[in-house]
Symmetry: D2
């Protein structure tokens, strides 16, 4: 277990290897957190939910860090306003790495005690899963921050613009009762629990994701200007935010569409799956194509036959509790349940998702306007 702990913790720091200290401070929009904050918050999670309750000799590293690095746990008291995380230059990156080392040392001590405490084991595992979630956020937040900068910053090749074309096949699932949700050994989040039956009518779902070349056709056909393709709220959003293409796309008269990647701006690869689109855009595209988005239940029922894992896929399901959903007691009860409103479910995984951090019952969720995640879409009919 300690080995796994160290590996995951190290992976977080590996992400930071190509960066400069100045890169760790940026917060160009409220949804994005400074990288420095991610490094500290994931550490705070272990300190607060594992070390303080279970390591009897543990001493808090710094009295202000509970205020500075709590994300949204009301149970844990007041905290830095989310939109102001980027106002703090101190503690510096170096100081936060010292904090990480201090907590890691004590985590090692604790794990070597081999306490056999199920609650602790659960919280430790949750902490690791939580850190893996933040690893993906570090990539998306970094990309969004660098995306504001005209200097075309290059730091890492994630394969964001990689070709991967395959012919679109339609998989048909006959009508009937499907089993939805997680059951069995291994980790899952509370929002996946409560395995239950869902009745689905017959449907077909594409084996592959919508590609850049198809999205370019949608643009060329005036898709962003046809009001009847869009939700009413989407039209207001398009106008207010002046949206006419996926995030990071730019059109150059001579060279055509390009997109910013963490390895610099690239001419758009036609066969790469489209990325950085909002739910609103995904739904409008599906309408334009004469198809629809799958529900999260359809997706899960077909998951074993699908090619997935390069983009988080918008579904037409709102993020709502499963029938027997219960919030865990205490602060951990705030992990998922309180976000079950105003968000849409995404299924699958992306190129930046940790290798073992995905499964067919996994429910990711974002508001319908979110574009800075590695989001794409798959059609159904």
């Amino acid at each position: 277990m300690l080995e796994r702990y160290n590996e995951i913790r190290q992976q977080t720091e590996n992400i930071c290897a190509p960066l400069e200290p100045e890169d760790f401070v940026l917060q160009p929009m409220e949804d994005v957190s400074p990288l420095k904050w991610h490094l500290a918050h994931t550490t705070w999670f272990f300190e607060t939910f594992v070390l303080k309750p279970f390591h009897t000799k543990y001493k808090e590293y710094h009295e202000a860090y509970d205020f500075l690095f709590n994300s949204y746990y009301e149970t844990q008291g007041t905290r830095t306003v989310r939109s102001e995380r980027g106002y703090l230059s101190r503690p510096t990156v170096r100081e936060i790495l010292e904090y990480r080392a201090y907590v890691d040392t004590h985590m090692a001590e604790l794990l070597e005690m081999k306490l056999e405490n199920n609650l602790m084991d659960d919280l430790l595992e949750l902490g690791l899963q939580h850190e893996q979630q933040h690893q993906e956020l570090m990539y998306t937040d970094l990309k969004y921050s660098f995306g504001q900068n005209p200097l075309d910053i290059k730091v890492v090749e994630l394969g964001e613009n990689k070709d991967e074309w395959q012919k679109t096949d339609w998989i048909t699932i006959p009508e009937g009762l499907q089993t939805i949700g997680f059951e069995g050994e291994g980790f899952c989040f509370d929002n996946e629990l409560g395995q239950h039956k869902v009745y689905l009518e017959e449907f077909s779902i594409a084996n592959s994701l919508v590609r850049n070349v198809e999205w370019a056709e949608f643009i060329e056909d005036g898709g962003y200007e046809k009001p009847l393709l869009w939700h009413a709220d989407a039209l207001a959003w398009l106008k207010k935010e002046n949206i006419y293409a996926p995030l990071y796309w730019e059109n150059n008269e001579n060279e055509g569409w390009s997109t910013y990647t963490l390895n610099g701006r690239k001419l758009l690869s036609p066969d790469a799956a489209v990325m950085h689109i909002s739910f609103y855009e995904a739904a409008a595209y599906a309408e334009w194509a004469g198809k629809r988005l799958p529900t999260e239940f359809e997706w899960e029922a077909a998951a074993d036959s699908l090619n997935w894992g390069r983009r988080w896929e918008w579904t037409n399901s709102a993020y709502l509790p499963y029938p027997r959903f219960e919030k865990p007691k205490g602060a951990i009860g705030e992990y998922n349940g309180k976000f079950m409103i105003n968000q849409m479910v995404l299924r699958g995984a992306s190129l930046a998702t940790a290798a073992d951090h995905s499964r067919k019952t996994y429910r990711n969720f974002f508001p319908p306007t979110a574009r800075w995640q590695f989001t794409g879409l798959r059609l159904a009919k």
Copy 2:
């Protein structure tokens, strides 16, 4: 049919009988439309979707009215910005009543032709249902406008604060497949169509609505200040809007809680069902009570056993399309489908709903912050 047309149209004007001309202009928030606008918009609906296409000799009443009284039909061209409907004093109430009379005269002509055109019949029926929806909105909008005025305006007794206590019984529905959606003769909206099966686990649902006295206990117990009862978005909303009680409630040190009704401010009747709460508040109350809100499917499955009809009841279902939902062709396709995002479903009917304008498959919907409608809640477990 003409009789039914005239009755419903007359009912709209009856609502206006106790009002002064100045009352018809108010728009104290974007969601609220001036009464004058409701009178004209419902008329525009018949002119645009029935008279112009089907009455061959019909002449448009006024060339500017298409711009002034289109609500949200992109297909019909540009229109007054919604938030600026209250900037227009002209046409006056009298002029709009003349417009109504002109359209009514031509509708009578048309109906007397007995054309036997199914599409026309459908649009006529839709126009009547649409007018009934606006009748309820006229009451809620008027109440919201008068609710801003310290003069305690009294215009009509709707029974908003009427006692109606009954013991709460729990109705239990065993697990199994349920049939959801409309099928058969008679009118329904497109969003109810596509009757389909939904698998529900066993659940219990209260026979009666949550009452004012129970809500007062929730307040007294600090319900509005306990962050763990609320969705994350709800907490931000509570703080921004400074919410601490249902809309229209005021607390007087000596007399306790009162509420504004269209018949003036009244001391709160403890046994009346609570009203003017947002989805956020309904969900927090359910959490506080150790219960939950029903889904719209649970509600519909149990509807025949429930006592309903005094409040629109928030469910924990997002407003999403049924499996085989299709937008009708043309402008009417904009009636419902484009609103299927960012809204929650309400079921039942309220004290202001037209008598024949409700059924167990009816899907009402509003954003989770809406409070000016006649909204309440029922618990499930």
Copy 3:
């Protein structure tokens, strides 16, 4: 005195003669007040500052009116939020006219007592001057409200688009000490008091105002798009508000520029003085013309030689206190002094200014963005 009182009060009601009840409720922006509110507020002024202190048997007309019709007098207690004056349909216009009649009756009683009280006489005169100020505001507010309506409403001919060309002469005033401010018999506002010397260098000032034809040249020359002509704050304002011509101007491909007047939309009269421009626009025009705006002191020093009275003229003077300025004691001290920041001085009078409500020492003032007043400009060099 009673005759003068009755004449001025009657004049206010005459302005309303061509209006419909719905017209009295509109408040399309915060700066604009509903006409109903003007009718009541000017009455409240006499009730509060004359009848209550000096008419010993006077009984307050309505206990809520002090809250409803106080404009900004902190000394007088709380009041309706300014931006929400348009949310109130009651009291109705008829009820407000009854309020006016009640107060007028008691004012007649009071004046017939012939009390010989200087303070009362001063407050009575202030009330009449105040009512005349509101008469002009009623026109500008009405015009702004009707200007939002596509129906091209016609209610009164004020000569807004009247030709009045004359050759521009330059009047030169030699350097030296000038006497500024009011002294003598007759009424003036507190902000004009404290006659004092100001040293002015030699300057020249145009005898006439800038005309529409000249402004159209400024537009045609790209004046609104040349950043170097504008103040930095003005550029941000131009962009945010999307300003490209004076308020009410519209350009039609075939017919050219037109402007809305209270007598309907008219093709622009080239020789009429330009109107409905902000200070920012006036200053940019002067820069474009290679001239400058006069200061309020230059204006006053030259006033006897100028042709003025059709437009309020922007000066390049900030609205600040004269050397010995003192706020009067009590609520009346709030009349002018607290507005002496963030505003620019306008001199002269407009076509809507009451005949005896102007003099060369009169200091009008508005923020540099205000356009809905009858504002124009005169150049200096």
Copy 4:
């Protein structure tokens, strides 16, 4: 001259000596710029206005820097939106220091050519004065950024909380003509030029600044809650921003008032001059004290008798052009003139003003809400 250039440039870098790289990125409000930006922008000024026009062999350092480091010169083309300067982590501090070194090397080359070009000499001098202005801004921006951080960061002792009490004497200047504005050898800004006469009535002005202990009395007397002391715009600002004391002041029940300084939070020194107040607060204090703020002309007329130099002193003069003010030709014409609206003049100098960067004719200016500068006040009567 080269020596002076090097000294001033070095002084800018000295300010940065105690900082960490993360400190250079912060922009917690639009008015504040990241320190990194100050370092680059002052360098861009020399590159753009001196090297490019006068050093014939000079090669632009980086093609993107003109976009990144132009502040507000429309003449120089598009630029980073001001509020988004804090979104850029690259170029890093190290890269910007390399840019500085490159420009400094070429400036040394240029100065050694001894070109005898008056325009170049003027622009060089302006560049140095400009750099000194930014040195003070670096302190105020750094303080504001660190003031957001609960970690009580200590970087430098500027004497912000130093005792300096002296008895208040009143200096009386008799009425008469005063000479205002700069004339003679040496540098001044364009806004000081045009020496001219101003007639002043007799006035008295305090020899010393208002102290913390006096401001604390104002607070204790409820000064922030008495509406009659404040301008109307100030009241709205107090409420919106929740202002109840100078910026950085905090009240602790046991220890009383403290203030944040760049050397950490300190108990307030009673005799130190009050600092970090807006014009609105200064004016309200003066009203409370039964006095007034001096005009900028009074200040200048009395300057030789005053004790000044620890705080920028708010005057009651709006920032407007002097009689013969002319914008210089070209981009430099944008230096001052376009800001002559919506700002108030401050006179004197502060503890952070460069030693030779002040004189009695110097006109500093900020909007009436600005508090993050080292602002104080002196009374007049």
